[in-house]
């Protein structure tokens, strides 16, 4: 049998990967993807914990996370398209005009 700790470890690793991606990549789309990775890492630990406690709550939280992810993807991608129309680039550092 696989102990809970293994699942948590996997989820932790995935989360770190996602975080790294957010910081290292210079492409908005990839950054969004990295955020998806982080979300999924969290989902995994939710499901694992839920299984551990024998309740379905964990899975339900996962559904909510998925919904939020879907919304986030829709808006985020719409933003990406809009940005790409203005500056012919996807580099987040190209969109720094919104400051003091």
């Amino acid at each position: 049998m696989i102990p809970l700790s293994h699942y948590l470890l996997v989820s932790a690793i995935l989360f770190c990967i996602g975080t790294t991606g957010v910081f290292l990549r210079r492409n908005v789309i990839t950054i969004l993807l990295s955020i998806e990775i982080m979300l999924n890492a969290v989902n995994l630990s939710f499901v694992a914990f839920g299984r551990q406690m024998g309740t379905v709550d964990g899975q339900i939280i996962v559904f909510f996370v998925m919904t939020v992810a879907a919304a986030e993807a829709a808006v985020g991608l719409a933003l990406v398209i809009g940005l790409f129309r203005h500056r012919e680039s996807l580099n987040p550092d190209a969109f720094t005009s919104l400051k003091w």
Binding site: M1, I2, P3, L4, S5, H6, Y7, L8, V10, A12, I13, L14, F15, C16, I17, T19, T20, G21, F23, R25, R26, N27, I29, T30, L33, S34, E36, I37, N40, N43, L44, V47, R51, Q52, M53, G54, T55, V56, D57, Q59, I60, V62, F63, M66, T67, V68, A69, A70, A71, A73, A74, V75, L77, A78, L79, I81, F84, L90, N91, D93
Partner: protein, 178 residues
């Protein structure tokens, strides 16, 4: 034993795929790798007696969200990101900043590891106390979702609606009507 083997295979696949998502510059490949990682995660969910979540993972993430990403990547004809020379001057590229960042990253990893150490009774088998039936029944899932979490559910629906409208408004060109 097969179960453990499957677990290691799937989690390995998930980790490698995720690493590749951020490991190369072509967003197309990133998307595909992410899909692969999602597939592996779905497998893990099945191992955790959550078949419904697994299927939802495939349908929603792989089937819808990722297609959306793919669509956008193709629509913008995915320029592979411009090289590092662009932002030599960027403040975030200053050595001090990068050093601080890497230090923080190491710190986070340590903290996560520590947290895993701290957490109690996580070394027992995950499917220990309760039978699979308790968590795998879709009926049970639905009942809980529509009783205990009904408010959250409704709120989420509103969220979706808002997101939809927002996406439509954002994505259409200026001066374009309907």
């Amino acid at each position: 034993m097969p179960e453990t083997l499957v677990f290691y295979l799937l989690s390995g696949l998930a980790i490698v795929a995720s690493a590749l998502v951020i490991g190369q510059r072509n967003p197309m490949y990133s998307v595909l790798m992410l899909i692969a990682s999602f597939g592996a995660l779905a497998g893990l969910y099945i191992q955790l007696d959550a078949p419904f979540v697994a299927v939802a993972q495939i349908i929603i993430y792989a089937g819808a969200i990722m297609v959306l990403f793919l669509f956008v990547v193709m629509l913008l004809n995915a320029p592979t990101e411009d090289g590092a020379d662009w932002d030599k001057a960027h403040p975030l590229q200053l050595p001090a900043v990068t050093r601080l960042g890497s230090m923080l990253a190491v710190l986070l990893v340590i903290q996560l590891a520590w947290a895993l150490m701290e957490a109690a009774d996580i070394n027992g088998p995950v499917a220990g106390q309760t039978g699979a039936a308790a968590v795998s029944s879709v009926r049970q899932l639905g009942r809980t979702l529509f009783t205990d979490y009904v408010f959250a559910f409704e709120a989420t629906s509103v969220l979706i609606l808002v997101a939809m409208v927002g996406a439509v408004m954002l994505a259409r060109r200026e001066g374009e009507r309907s």
